[in-house]
């Protein structure tokens, strides 16, 4: 237990939790304040994006070399850190159902958190933990203009275009779900095996 407490503190987990909580609350408030139903799915996506981005800084310790000297098996611990973080974010988003005005159904929340969490992990492995959110944030903001909430139409074919715009596709779109699952699995594997880039 002591190990866990020290680990969480060294990875500034409390700050990440507060940030995720604050961003979710702020976006939910916006979601709740507007009458227009059109931008609502987008706010759920943005909340998933903010929540998963909050995981990123904790994916690396303050001292890369010090972490390497520890004679422990890092891969399962890294995978556990990542999946726990994603689960907490998904739980936060799903918990908005308790207010009677949920962000979205469980399926789109699960898809978005899975895919974006995978991207954060990939970002940590490729760019380093501090820059990890660049990957999901850039990708999401680039495809946002195809979102119906911004007057666009998500591509319906071919499936690679659907996969490229997976986060704004309607829930249940097969290629979008496949893309999110692939990103999630690739992210967990890459981060668990290679760890954060220094």
């Amino acid at each position: 237990m002591r190990w866990l407490t020290l680990y969480l503190r060294s990875r500034s987990a409390p700050a990440a939790l507060v940030a995720a909580l604050g961003a979710t609350a702020a976006l939910w408030w916006l979601h709740h304040a507007i009458d227009d139903p059109q931008p609502r799915p987008l706010l759920a996506l943005l909340a998933a994006l903010a929540g998963t981005a909050a995981i990123a800084p904790g994916l690396a310790g303050a001292d890369h070399d010090l972490d390497r000297t520890a004679a422990i098996a890092w891969p399962p611990r890294r995978a556990a850190h990542l999946t726990t973080g994603a689960a907490i974010v998904a739980g936060l988003l799903a918990a908005t159902a308790l207010t009677g005005d949920p962000f979205a159904h469980a399926a789109p929340i699960a898809r978005d958190v899975l895919g974006l969490g995978g991207l954060v992990a990939l970002g940590a492995a490729i760019l380093g933990a501090a820059r990890a959110p660049l990957l999901p944030v850039t990708w999401t903001l680039l495809v946002l203009r195809f979102s119906p909430a911004l007057g666009g139409t998500p591509p319906t074919r071919p499936s690679w275009k659907q996969a490229l715009t997976w986060m704004i596709q309607p829930a249940g779109t097969t290629s979008a779900t496949v893309a999110a699952v692939l990103l999630g699995v690739a992210g967990v594997l890459a981060y668990a095996v290679f760890g954060p880039r220094r």
Partner: protein, 369 residues
């Protein structure tokens, strides 16, 4: 602080200019009109990135954390998306929100008003936006450089001042911030008769319109008294319909493809030209009743002598083919002279926008009087 801030601002502006250049290269081959005013609008757009960059840098320097950039980006997008909606809920303002909306980064403005390619932003609007953005940039820079609490509070002053000046310069509503660009809607016509004209911004589509337009004029000349003699592109109005039109001209709206040519095939254009016997609908398509639509379609089919072409992609026709056929059958049972008179009467009614029921005129029992 200053060199870094300047470098970031220059990088953002260069990026914006790069996007603009890519857009120019893409439309260049088919574009026929590049007014200086559009460069001014793009310049204001480029300027808008400077306060964005500097305010972001100021936020980063106040909250130096790895979490600041992504959370700021996400919350910024959310605010951009929802903010205008919350502040200027469109319905509360009858679809025409206050022009102050233009001082916020918002995507909602593009949805109001007429077709964007025919209008331009007034100089006053561009000026007030530029003033506001400059003041906001000054605030951002001051906030970034401020060392003490007092300096940070003072840094807000330019933005407040800029907002006050910009708001006093802006007109009351968003619709008043744009005007028709006279040069953009100037007509480009064929040199030989019968005359076919398109707006200057759509000049590349003239070749596509010429053939169907002349066929439509020939058909109308063969079948109706006092036929029109020219075809002119209709550039749309803020509130469609209700205005009488000249009997010697067919007004037609063009849909353009991404290459600047007409998006519809010739037979579809011909059908559009002949709908309502060569008249523009008096009522906006969204408000038109089925009866108006049926009458206009039946008149076109009577003139053309064949049913409408298969629907082109992205185009909608209310689906009552059977009823249009019914009206047409009724019409064709009348004596030939009466048929002609009825279609001509429908044409007159649509030209004058006198509000009479088109289907009654065409096939009603009372005759066309």
């Amino acid at each position: 602080v200053l060199p870094t801030a300047a470098a970031m601002a220059v990088a953002a502006v260069v990026g914006y200019a790069g996007m603009f250049a890519a857009g120019v290269a893409r439309v260049g081959p088919t574009a026929s009109y590049l007014p200086l005013g559009s460069l001014l609008i793009a310049a204001v757009g480029a300027l808008s990135l400077v306060p964005a960059v500097w305010l972001g840098m100021a936020a980063g320097s106040r909250l130096p954390s790895a979490l600041t950039p992504p959370l700021l980006a996400v919350l910024g997008v959310a605010a951009l998306l929802i903010g205008p909606e919350l502040l200027f809920h469109a319905e509360r303002y009858g679809g025409d929100p206050p022009a102050a909306l233009l001082l916020l980064p918002s995507t909602g403005v593009a949805r109001t008003g007429v077709l964007a390619e025919f209008v331009t932003v007034t100089g006053r609007t561009a000026l007030s936006q530029a003033l506001w953005l400059t003041a906001l940039a000054a605030s951002g820079l001051a906030m970034l450089a401020a060392a003490s609490r007092g300096a940070r509070v003072a840094a807000v002053l330019p933005a407040v001042l800029g907002a006050a000046v910009a708001l006093s310069l802006l007109p009351g509503t968003v619709s008043a911030t744009t005007v028709f660009d006279r040069a953009a809607i100037a007509l480009v016509c064929t040199s030989d008769a019968p005359e076919v004209c398109v707006t200057r911004v759509h000049a590349a589509a003239l070749d596509d319109l010429r053939g169907p337009a002349r066929r439509a004029l020939a058909i109308l000349a063969a079948k109706l008294p006092t036929p029109p003699t020219r075809v002119v592109e209709d550039y749309g109005r803020a509130s469609p319909g209700q205005q009488p039109q000249r009997p010697d001209t067919i007004l037609v709206q063009l849909r353009l493809s991404t290459t600047g040519r007409a998006a519809d095939p010739p037979d579809e254009l011909l059908w559009d030209l002949l709908a309502g016997a060569g008249t523009r609908p008096c009522v906006a398509p969204s408000e038109a009743s089925d009866r108006e639509f049926l009458a206009r379609a039946a008149a076109a089919e009577w003139l053309l002598g064949q049913p409408p072409p298969a629907l082109a992609a992205g185009k909608e026709r209310p689906a009552h083919p059977g009823e249009a056929g019914e009206a047409l059958t009724t019409l064709r049972r009348l004596p030939a002279g009466e048929q002609r008179a009825r279609v001509a009467a429908l044409r007159q009614a649509e030209l004058a926008c006198d509000g009479r029921d088109l289907l009654d005129i065409l096939v009603g029992p009372g005759g066309h009087r």
